[in-house]
Subunit: 181 residues, 2 copies
DNA sequence: AAAATTTTTATTATATATAAAAAATATTTT
DNA sequence: AAAATATTTTTTATATATAATAAAAATTTT
């Protein structure tokens, strides 16, 4: 039985133009919110795919909330189409880079967080936050481990690293004799 | 369609004896916790029915967490049986009084809490607590109204008052034109 | 004399912590 | 004054606590 990894959030960035008039964009994009004194980026929310896009005056763009890089690309294409139709000078097929992914997984056992917290690279303050924070070196990600056995892996650039990170956590539990080898 | 009321908690009180040695009770009752410097009552938790009983030196007893008066009675009978078997001088069939009931219900609409908060008898401080507090005069209960349309009625002595309280809230919404009359 | 202690229960917003990009502003350190 | 961080926003899973409500009991503290 293969360990199951669920990608729950993908953050990507790209560049769709130069010196974009965000006030103008706010008028032509229907789900746009632009409050420059609060944040320099314009926020645009799509329902399908369900994501949030941040567009900056520089032409740089972030997309958050997608379940895959492909989903983020579809969302970005949608916004590009709308902006081109409104007459903006926009890059049609920009290079999209994954900046972060968040994954969830299950350990299949209920770990003793107090025992794990004796290891290096871990932080565990249950009255501040119920999850143990494990900063892994290779792959360079952060894993949140919960008493339920559920874990959250974040800081991912590639999906395959989620499997390596989960393997590392399982091996760590074996060494702590939390799981039979 | 009849409005649906769910009784989620019933608190009852009774008196099962006089001058009870709680230290002794703590020894013979298996799920008992007795920490007199923390609280003068002995706490006993049952799994079936799932309730908590507080027993006091005076012989007075509270039962919380039951879903009905009958469930509370069954729980109390169970504890009485155990205490009698341990040799305590205990009342076998004491009078049980409902002191409080908590009910939940649904309004069937998502109310505007800000508008309701203009009415007398209401308190609404969303950053302190998300529910609006409505102190009703007749029946004398407190209703918590949430933005989801779910409500909590507490301070109930009789189940029928829950229906009257719900009716009152629905009428109030009609007058505020939150619901079509 | 009044308030806190404990127990139960539904309700739900918010805070807590994690990573990452973007750019503008606000502190902080040099 | 200049350079260097920190905060702002967005998303997402995870899971705790806390906020307020009523009621009884008896003890301690205010």
């Amino acid at each position: 039985m293969e360990p199951k990894i669920n990608i729950v959030n993908v953050v990507v960035s790209t560049k769709i133009g130069d010196d974009i008039d965000l006030e103008h964009v706010a008028d032509v994009l229907d789900n746009a919110e632009y409050e420059p004194e609060q944040f320099p980026g314009l926020v645009c929310r799509l329902n399908d795919p369900r994501v949030a896009l941040l567009i900056f005056r520089s032409g740089k763009l972030n997309c958050t909330g997608a379940k895959s890089k492909e989903e983020a690309e579809i969302a970005i294409k949608k916004v590009i189409k709308q902006l081109k139709e409104a007459g903006f000078d926009i890059e049609e097929d920009p290079e999209i880079k994954v900046q972060n992914m968040v994954a969830t997984a299950e350990l299949g056992t209920e770990p003793n967080l107090d025992r794990i917290s004796t290891l290096e690279g871990t932080e565990y303050e249950p009255e501040q936050f119920p999850g143990l924070v494990y900063r892994m070196e290779d792959p360079k990600v952060v894993v949140l481990i919960f008493g339920s056995g559920k874990i959250v892996i974040t800081g991912l650039k590639r999906e395959e690293d989620a499997y390596r990170a989960l393997e590392n956590v399982l091996n760590m539990l074996k060494e702590l004799k939390e799981i039979k080898g």
